[in-house]
């Protein structure tokens, strides 16, 4: 059993399990965010009502704690693995051509992860913190007006760029990460691994694209 905590493979299992859970989270999060495409007062109230549900429903609260824990585990585990991997080659090659044998994203999961982490922190302080601890005005139906905060934030081209770039980073992270996580968990077979890989490529394009379209849409329609 101790092999499931201390070994190199255990660290990988945790990385993959938390990574895949976060992929599920992304789906849920995007589904909710798509409501930001609904125009007018109706869209505003629907989104704010949804935001209230997301901060008060007990099941959602449990899920959000698991999400926070997953991010934390994934980040700490990622740092431990990356540091150990660097130590395993104290002296580098004078001349190396890794592009001949592997794709860029697979070799830069740590860099991409760091960009994502910086984004998560910015993102939480932009919206989550304000919703949870800020004093926001209410909309015409009496809900805390998170919708207004979102609309305001995405007036700024800088924010829009930060968001879009971060979604590109998530896309690259998952281009390799999605199917890699299945292999890490031992789920691999000639018959279905190519399908998982294709699904991973589709996921890593569609989900980040969905997220990225929101700030672009808000920016273009509100300014």
């Amino acid at each position: 059993m101790s092999g499931l905590i201390k070994s190199s493979l255990a660290k990988k299992y945790w990385m993959a399990a938390t990574g895949l859970f976060l992929c599920l989270f992304l789906v849920g999060h995007l589904a909710g965010n798509l409501q930001l495409f609904i125009p007018g007062e109706e869209g505003k109230i629907q989104f704010n009502e949804y935001a209230k549900f997301m901060t008060t429903n007990p099941i959602v609260r449990v899920l959000s704690i698991v999400t926070f824990a997953s991010v934390l585990f994934h980040v700490i585990d990622g740092i431990i693995l990356t540091v150990a991997n660097k130590k395993a080659r104290p002296q580098n090659y004078a001349y190396s051509k890794p592009s001949k044998n592997s794709i860029w994203t697979s070799r830069n999961m740590g860099v991409l992860g760091t960009i994502i982490l910086a984004f998560i922190i910015t993102h939480l302080s932009n919206f989550w913190y304000k919703m949870k601890f800020g004093s926001l005005p209410v909309d015409s139906a009496g809900y805390t007006d998170l919708h207004g905060v979102v609309m305001e934030a995405f007036q700024s081209p800088i924010y829009v760029i930060i968001y879009v770039v971060s979604m590109v980073a998530i896309g690259f992270h998952l281009w390799h990460g999605f199917s890699s996580a299945f292999k890490t968990m031992g789920v691999s077979h000639k018959s279905y691994t190519p399908l998982i890989e294709k699904a991973g490529y589709a996921f890593s394009v569609i989900i980040p694209l969905g997220f990225a379209l929101i700030p672009i849409y808000v920016f273009l329609t509100n300014s």
Binding site: L4, S8, L9, A88, K183, T184, M185, V187, S188, K190
Partner: protein
Amino acid sequence: MNLTLKVWRQQNADSKGEMVTYKVSDITPDMSFLEMIDVLNEGILSGDIEDKQNYGPVAFDHDCREGICGMCSMYINGEPHGPGRAVTTCQLHMREFSDGETIYIEPWRAKAFPIIKDLVTDRSAFDRIIQAGGYVSVNTSGNTQDANALPIPKENADAAFDAATCIGCGACVAACKNSSAMLFTSAKVAQLSLLPQGEPEREKRVMDMVKQMDEEGFGNCTNTGACSVECPKEISLENIARMNREFLRANLTSSK
């Protein structure tokens, strides 16, 4: 062909090494890469090739020179065993290079493979991983059973054979950005876990071999796939997933 070689020279394990430039000429396209190094060494010994710092002939590992022993470890132009696919350095031919080219030649680089001299590294970490579990225990009291007496599904026999073609060269570790030994270790685990003879020690084997692999200081796998691309025997990445599965299963079910 005339070539410029940039070769890693290092007197011993403790000294600091450096890349040293040599000029070789009269290389024919049908020479193997090791024969080209032989020409270099003869030139250094005879004084025809300038060796300013007096390092002497380049030390390198080789034995069979036909792609089966796994000794000829060289990181050539940024890849283990050079630009060819499914070949070892001894099977790499000079026709892969062009006249006037500069070729970089370095040893495997990994903490677990310390340099002994020049291009020679100590790969006994692999031996210790094998010793930890890469075997089957058989009764040798005189009534040893014929291995072919046990029925084995064709698919398993094929997959086990493919895994067993690993020659322990270490190119997978050299190619991996994490210096991970997962491809090697997983090939050795898979080869035995697929066969009925390997069944009794199945759980213990994977647990002990992974433990040894970790203790040797290899890095962790990120599934980049570099190992499999550079492997002279084209060992499949599927073996790594199989080992991940075996290890999970062993830890959940073993009574140990």
